[in-house]
């Protein structure tokens, strides 16, 4: 491992003081003079035509300053991607219970709520469709009957409520299945998930004297909010400034426009600043969660345990609108394995439920549960050790990844070996106890990234990026700048950013900040360093390559006392020919850098109640280089806890008739609590990536992928029952133990129809 001065150290977070003293400012902490409070009225119907909305009584309530409905917005549909399928507020129809149909701005929140009760909406009910498999069948009620007329519609298969198809193919799958010694088929189902961020959606909007709109937002993607807000308000993007505030958790749910348009329009109507803060029920019912996913896997295996082919179908429920990344999981249908022949398909269906959002690698967590459960089942069927079966098929350097890229050097095998060693696998455990493993695969996220570094006259540097801090990413970016420039962490000032000030960058999500944004910071620091060296060479009268930059100075390598501090150079630069020293970098994508994580769970299963108790959790991830080991471990543990919640208790339930969220509260949507969890054991492997900053890889996503499969596999090891549906509740385990059937609905018939529509032989 290379030696570092700043990286690989447990440096304190740059925002530690604000956070621990409670002074960090979130969107909800923004108070402006004359500020009004906004509340929204949600639809009480799953699927209905809006006959009329009478807001007159609400308007007349003292303290109410404005009431808006869908028709107050420009008649423009927008979308999370190319397909524009959604109005920001319901116009003529509602598509799910909770969909905003009106919003009020009042002098206080109670008055705003009282006004909501005075709004009279007349609906004409339409038949809803709630189940995605029903939605895909011919003759199902249509959620968007005019879908084909929507801008961005580009789907080639007609039918039902299908809104996207993702596919990937290689080799001759059918022939490979025919030639294989064994073929295994399984269907898995994962549940609806709420992202569970603690800070609810919140924003303040204010029309400034010059007519520009300022929005203080709780967002992972300020530039995305700006663009979408400009679109739905039909105003120039340059008239909007988005100020991203401290983020109290997002996990994908805050990547795009949420409710910012309501206070924005209300501010435009009233001339006053307007604040909106969701309550938890609104977070659950109005703000894109993850919907249940059905994954079907078919795998051809030879006698020696070599996998020769894989077919995977994902049936995805997007709810009322095609939200973010509904079905990217299908690209991970091979798991971390080298499989020569494959056919991967993902179908997304509209239903009358809240629209889907992103959540810590949308769809991949669901697919990992399916793939890693399936792998275990095959191994047991073949009489192979589950870990050996994985080792035999694991993808290696030089193999071709599912996306066609060459697999670069990586730490997959080291991760598996580390977990094996930590647990002493294979391992015999007492009756009722079991151990299970899961191998997780992801890639370091890329996308547009920019950074700017200016050197100050006191030797500090100011770092400006457009990316919102999540999971301590500001600290990581500051560390990278400090390491690059040979200065201490506390010499880097991370500037507060907004969309006017900072250069465009992609959102904080998808495991991309440290890898890609960090690369931009590294390159910007190099740019600044080169300028410092050039100036020093000029002033010291030596060639630039005779100089080094470390410990806050540029010095002559053969004669260190001959040096200039960064502060001196910055002061000199102001009047130099080349001007003040500013390093800049801008990049779009970086090459494929996979991330692998091996995880293992030990459980104890209560045969009388079915209750599963997690007694131990071990994970090992190849992080390339640990920018800050403490922060890396924290992120890995946090991810594992989310995955453990998905495995065991979290379950967003929808009414099968109406699609309403049945448990819109943290009292009934059960996330793990710190005191409940066993000690999490976190191991790091460091095989540097080829292109990441100082060899770092992405960290964020994979830790959450493994727990559902690792725990399901451990349950099988403990008591011999296989649970194919999440969460792995006591109820499901007990039913399986009693032989009362825990099978996930067979989706063969639906697949036949879908394959026929694709023109495939069935």
């Amino acid at each position: 491992m290379a030696t570092f001065k700043v990286l690989e150290q447990n440096n304190p977070r740059v925002d530690a003081w604000e956070k621990v003293t409670g002074r960090a400012t979130y969107a909800g902490d923004v108070y402006l003079p004359g500020m009004l409070m906004c509340k929204t009225l949600g639809s009480s119907r799953s699927h209905a035509r809006i006959v009329s909305i009478d807001t007159s009584r609400a308007q007349a309530l003292p303290g109410v300053r404005a009431v808006i409905t869908g028709v107050d917005f420009p008649e423009i549909r927008f979308g999370s991607g190319a397909l524009k399928d959604r109005y920001i507020m319901a116009r003529d129809k509602v598509y799910y219970i909770g969909e905003p149909v009106a919003a009020v701005a009042a002098e206080d929140e109670i008055t705003a709520e009282e006004a909501l009760a005075l709004i009279d909406v007349q609906y004409e009910d339409l038949e809803p469709v709630v189940d995605p498999l029903t939605a895909l069948r011919a003759g199902s009620p249509s959620v968007h009957p005019d879908l084909e007329s929507y801008e961005g519609y580009g789907f080639t298969i007609e039918g039902g409520n299908i809104c996207t198809l993702l596919d990937a193919d290689r080799g001759d799958v059918e022939q490979a299945f025919q030639d294989a010694d064994h073929v295994f088929e399984d269907t898995f189902r994962s549940q609806g998930i709420n992202q569970g961020f603690l800070e609810p959606m919140a924003c303040v909007a204010n029309v400034e004297a010059n007519g520009r709109l300022t929005v203080w937002a709780s967002t992972q993607g300020p530039y995305q909010v700006r663009a979408q807000l400009a679109s739905v308000l039909d105003m120039p993007l340059s008239n909007i400034k988005v100020i991203p505030m401290e983020l109290g958790g997002g996990f994908g749910a805050k990547l795009r426009l949420a409710f910012e348009a309501f206070p924005s329009l209300l501010s435009m109507k009233t001339g006053s600043p307007v604040k909106l803060i969701n309550n938890r029920e609104e977070v659950f019912t109005q703000n894109g969660p993850r919907h249940p996913v059905t994954n079907y896997l078919k795998t051809g295996v030879n006698k020696d345990g070599t996998i020769v082919s894989r077919e995977a179908y994902t049936i995805f429920d997007v709810g009322a609108y095609l939200g973010a990344g509904p079905n990217s999981g299908i690209g991970h249908g091979l798991g971390a394995y080298d499989i020569p022949n494959f056919r991967l398909r993902s179908y997304a269906a509209y239903t009358n439920k809240v629209y889907v959002g992103s959540y810590r690698a949308s769809g991949v967590a669901d697919m990992t549960f399916a793939v890693e459960s399936h792998m275990d089942m095959i191994a047991h069927n073949l009489g192979m050790d589950p870990l050996d079966f994985r080792l035999k098929n694991a993808i290696k350097e030089g193999d071709t990844a599912v996306n066609g890229s060459r697999v670069p050097r990586n730490g997959l095998f080291e991760c598996l070996a580390a977990v094996k060693e930590r647990l002493g696998l294979p391992r015999e455990l007492p009756e009722g106890h079991g151990v299970g493993i899961a191998l997780c695969e992801w890639r370091s996220g890329t996308g547009p990234s920019t950074a700017s570094i200016s050197v100050n006259e006191d030797g500090t540097v100011s770092l400006l990026t457009g990316s919102v801090d999540i999971s301590g990413s500001d600290t990581s970016l500051a560390s990278i700048a400090a390491e690059s420039l040979g200065i201490a962490m506390d010499q880097v000032i991370v500037a507060r950013r907004d969309t006017d000030l900072a250069p465009f960058t992609g959102p904080s999500g998808g495991s991309r900040i440290v890898y890609s944004q960090g690369k931009a910071v590294e390159l910007a620091a190099e740019d600044a360093r080169n300028k410092l060296l050039a100036l020093a060479a000029d002033r010291l009268g030596v060639p630039q390559d005779a100089l080094a930059c470390a410990d806050g100075s540029v010095y002559v390598q053969d004669n260190p006392p001959q040096s200039l501090t960064l502060g001196q150079l910055a002061a000199m630069s102001v009047t130099s020919r080349s001007g003040p020293i500013v390093g800049n970098a801008s990049l779009s994508t970086l090459p494929y850098a996979p991330v692998f994580s091996a995880q293992a769970a030990e459980v104890q299963v209560d045969r009388d109640t079915g209750q599963v108790k997690l007694t131990r959790y071990v994970q090992c991830q190849d992080v390339g280089v640990a920018i800050n080991p403490m922060a890396v471990e924290g992120q890995l543990e946090g991810g594992a806890v989310q995955g453990i919640g998905r495995a065991l208790t979290e379950d967003m339930q929808f009414d099968p008739e109406t699609g309403a969220v049945r448990n819109p509260s943290f009292a009934s949507y059960l996330m793990p609590l710190a005191l409940d969890l066993p000690e999490l054991e976190t191991l790091l492997v460091r095989v540097p990536s080829e292109d990441g900053p100082f060899g770092a890889r992405a960290v964020a996503e994979p830790p959450g992928f493994g727990p559902p499969a690792a725990i399901a596999n451990a349950i099988y090891d403990a008591v011999g029952v296989r649970i194919r549906e999440l969460p792995l509740s006591g109820e499901r385990v007990l039913a399986a133990l009693r032989g009362e059937g825990n099978d996930v609905a067979y989706i063969g018939d639906e697949l036949q129809e879908l394959k026929r529509a694709e023109g495939l032989a069935v």
Binding site: E114, T609, Q611, K613, L670, D676, S729, A735
Partner: protein
Amino acid sequence: MLRFDFLEARNLRHAIALLQRHGNDSRVVAGSTDFLVRWRQGFWRPAAVVNLKGIASLGRISFSPRNGLRLGALATVQSVESNAHIRRRYQALATGATSFAGVQVRNLATIGGNVCNASPAGDTLPALLAFDAQCTIAGPQGTRTLPLTEFFLGPGRTALEQGEVLTQLTLPAPMPRTGSLYIKHSPRGAMDIATVGVASVVTLEEDGRTCRDARIALGAVGPTPFRATEAENLLRGRTLTPGLLGQAAQAAEAAAKPIDDVRGSAGYRRAMVEALTTRTLQHALQMASGRAVTFEEQRRLAVQTAF
């Protein structure tokens, strides 16, 4: 209306007067751990809220062998959980209290509040029923007593009349050779509501084998928490064999009338009643036989969690 008057009761008489004045459009609070949640959800929208918390005399806990346990209605759940008499003699009540919500909520919530909320899943209720608690109720006409078994009328509905306040719960002193336990089935170890809760109390004869008395109470499997009397009757006067405990557990299961909801199906709840009745009886029997079980161990047994 979203606005309400918040009224501080200075003493019991004042509380009763305030409740009489505001009639059905008022609500009593003490710990207020449920009130704002339910208010925000729109379930409770009273015009007046009467706070009893300031009435210090209603918060006492006392025990004597003659009078048994006297729990002032405003005793916090935390004080019930940590009371030495309760831990020694009423283990099911202490374990009910320790499985309740989380530390912060237990510090505020009161035993009387848990009773008057009349939730079928209230964690202290099965133990109070199993220990034959009597309610003392003060009202405009004076004071009356009522067995707790007659107090619960339905989810959120109690026998309290207008202007009445629950002031005390009285639990007779357990006989010698008594053991008890409450087990709460809930996936999360804190801040969770019982999917099923079972409290069992077992008293042995001097021979140490014959059941002198057995009381079993079930939570979250009917419109109110209730006693599984047929199951109890199977045990009294008989030697407690594993087979007999199993029969009692089946009788308890047969008495359960659970519903399907987000926490579990009716079928699963019934299965839990059987499993937890067996288990609480086993542990209660062992404790009645003189086996010492630390409170930490009781807590571990009482809270069945996933993590």
